[in-house]
Symmetry: C2
């Protein structure tokens, strides 16, 4: 066996363990009976530890090193090995004892978060969060960084991202998005009562299945189920599953969750099967992943083109609720902008203030400028300042997201980056193939999906986010593309002067 084939065998075997863990994770959220938790935790831990052990073994490192020095590899092989080496080299900086410390603290911290949420009392979470932050600072030290400890952690979620880059992005959000939101706030609020009627659970689900099929989701290589929090998971490009949630008295819940997760799933289904488990068979980054979900959810799923095709079908499905509601009313309702307390329920504009607040807080926590004990107050002050609303309690404030209890510091920014990449990708696709828009109004997304497959999906991790953006759109990430899209769309909806 050649060394490269040895590399493939080991890497794909580790992927098997990770994918098996993903199946167990899916089952846990979707079908596992409650007592199943007792042993599921250790089964998941065993699988993850096995994959981690393989990917950080001395033998694997030696193999990668030998391959890096080899001159006989083809371009794709070289790229796989380079990325695997980067991962290896980064993982090796964390001592094994620290990994288990972090795992233990995550369990503690998540437990405290659950209890604090239940009792609606942030002070029960603060001491555990404090310990978690200390560990994350330690982790940043192990990784090493040039300017800011947060840089080291950001890199875990978005390779190469730094505070100095993100500061620029979020300054644009603050300076340029605020005036747009302010001008919308000055207009009469959109009446979205049409969403708050009774919508049968099964009919909503069936409609979402139709939409997903139209989008190009291959249900022979996937499925949709219900879970408490919608998510996408992949066991291979041939088995990519999504979940959604339902509220029979709020139409805004199920469908856009399905479209969002469907966007993620189309990306995973579009990864090259022959690169199974290897870097070129994996998604590029969290922000690029999020760009795919946001592109479909907002760029397509909240567009007039999309609904000019689907709305008559929806009306036929829910005649009692919708026969008196015009397409325009329905379209305006789904695009209502209104500052609110909960990130996951925010509209596509104010959403980025939610992310910005978390970004500022994570930065300050990591650099020791902010202490965990003061977080609830700081959180509320930020919400007042940027969104003009103040949480009435911790549950609708600082305790709303699970991320920090899991030790995920640096994850949030990828949500905004994803949206901005999405706008830029979609603008480029429409420029390149103008008929995409007219096709959409016929419920035909084939050309768009092909464009995404060719330009984004098929590359796997070959390019980092920034490089991919440059390659696909001809320029680096440009917030103004998102801003222009938003200004144009919302000017029409709210009758704003442009």
């Amino acid at each position: 066996m050649t060394q490269y084939n040895q590399y493939i065998e080991l890497t794909q075997k580790a992927a098997d363990f990770n994918n098996a863990a993903a199946v167990l994770g899916w089952d846990q959220e979707v079908y596992m009976p409650p007592k199943g938790f007792a042993f599921r935790g250790r089964q998941l831990a065993t699988l993850s530890a096995q994959a981690h052990e393989m990917m950080t073994s001395e033998a694997y490192g030696a193999l990668l090193k030998a391959l890096l020095e080899s001159s006989s590899l083809k371009e794709e092989a070289i790229r796989n090995v380079q990325i695997s080496w980067e991962d290896y080299e980064k993982n090796k900086r964390i001592p094994v004892s620290f990994v288990s410390q972090l795992t233990t603290q995550t369990t503690q911290c998540f437990g405290a978060w659950m209890e604090a949420r239940q009792k609606n009392d942030y002070s029960l979470f603060a001491p555990q969060l404090d310990k978690m932050i200390a560990l994350k600072r330690q982790q940043a030290d192990y990784y090493g960084y040039q300017d800011h400890p947060y840089d080291a952690l950001l890199d875990d979620y978005e390779k190469g991202a730094t505070v100095s880059q993100l500061d620029v992005v979020f300054q644009q959000v603050q300076k340029q998005l605020s005036p747009l939101v302010a001008s919308i706030a000055a207009k009469p609020i959109i009446d979205d009562h049409c969403f708050h009627q009774h919508y049968d659970r099964q009919k909503q689900f069936d409609f979402s299945m139709q939409v997903l099929r139209r989008m190009g989701y291959d249900f022979d290589a996937g499925r949709q189920d219900f879970s408490e929090h919608p998510f996408t998971t992949s066991f291979s490009p041939q088995d990519v599953r999504i979940t959604t949630r339902v509220d029979e008295n709020d139409f805004s819940s199920l469908l856009w969750s399905s479209i969002h997760e469907g966007g993620h799933a189309l990306y995973e289904q579009g990864l090259p099967t022959e690169q199974y488990g290897l870097p070129l068979g994996m998604p590029a980054s969290l922000s690029i992943h999020e760009s795919q979900s946001r592109l479909w959810e907002n760029g397509i799923g909240r567009s007039m083109d999309f609904w000019s095709y689907f709305y008559p079908q929806l009306q036929a499905l829910f005649p009692d609720s919708l026969q008196e509601v015009s397409l325009e009313q329905f379209y305006n309702s789904m695009n209502r902008v209104s500052p609110s307390l909960i990130r996951t329920e925010a509209d596509e504009l104010t959403y980025h203030f939610h992310v910005m607040i978390r970004y500022e807080i994570e930065k300050a926590l990591l650099s020791n400028e902010l202490q965990a004990k003061d977080l609830s107050e700081v959180w509320n002050a930020y919400y007042q300042r940027y969104l003009g609303v103040t949480p009435t309690d911790d549950k609708s404030g600082v305790l709303q997201d699970v991320h920090w209890s899991h030790g995920s510091f640096g994850y949030f920014p990828t949500y905004s980056l994803g949206s901005f990449y999405a706008a830029q990708f979609l603008a480029t696709a429409k420029e390149t193939i103008p008929t995409i828009t007219t096709d959409m109004a016929k419920g035909d997304f084939t050309q768009l999906l092909n464009w995404l497959r060719m330009n984004i999906h098929q590359h796997g991790r070959r390019y980092r986010s920034e490089a991919l953006c440059q390659k696909v759109t001809g320029k680096p990430l440009d917030f103004n593309v998102f801003l222009n899209y938003a200004q144009e769309k919302y000017a029409a909806i709210y009758g704003l002067k442009q």
Copy 2:
């Protein structure tokens, strides 16, 4: 860490891999989209190989040997180590290269069986089966045996079972069960048309859920789904799942599948959680497992006591089909005895002739007295001789079971042994606690389940089948207990002289 704790850690870790594989297996049968097969196969192989590697490593063997020589272990620990050593020592006799040869041939052989079944042509299967049998003979040689090569394979499914023991059992089946079946055949056939009406799928399922709950199946530690072939699978005693199948035009399909699998599941849920993954936390044997499913399916689920409680409920659920059908008619229909071609659809008496035929054939194949190419003819001759029916084609004959294509030679006899153990256990339980019978007629199975938990479930693999039977019933396996049960029951149903 003590050596015993090291042993626990390694053994439970291997169990984690096996249990993860079981989750992937469950998913594959129940919810996996069709294209998922592409990578699921390799993921399952990776998990099983990992567990196998751990359990056959030199290090594990050395640890077991050291523990066997240690004098500080308690009784339970000694038993665990002894059984693990037996397993280890047996597994080590098979060279690694042979394991992969067998895996490859299983894939080939299963593929050939599928094709042969589809084309209804045994000759397409024969050459691959021939190769499989050669490998199984080889495997028997690796294991070693005293009298008959089949003994070595039987031991894989039923520790300690031998041809000389089983010959006695099946001679009893032939000599003593045949006259009973013959005297039934001389009576008018039972009219079971009440089963062949329309029974709504969901209502059938819901009714089976009620029955399972009454039996004591803990749905917080399990669930029931649909699959093509009903099965039970366990990921820990806290997560034990069953599947069933439905035929809307045949009531005999769903419910007794559910009860049968429910019996298996109650056993798995009753294994001691503190022995997770260790021999004392595993089922005793296949025959004891089958004794639990058969006890519930036939001993309980086809008894008058059971139905005197449940039948009014069933009538209320299906008034159109059942209001004119008396309890006696319904009871007789579910106990109709009639020789037929398909093992899995056979009644509880003629079933054992199906098993006996397979037993005789396996024995002859292993000892080279019979060749794969002649199997179809021999099969049909056996069916004519023992059941008085002749398969009209291979699909309803020699191609009906999947077992041989998987290389499972020695599995079938455990089905009959299970039934005979079941009769003996139930007789003992009723003798010990006479109120079990009156409780049943009230839909209360608590005492019976407690008796099974105390006498069988809690022991795990502590005792081999024969020893367990001796301990629980005071005597070795005795076919006459089953025969007496059958004679009494069917004399009443068919009006036979006893």
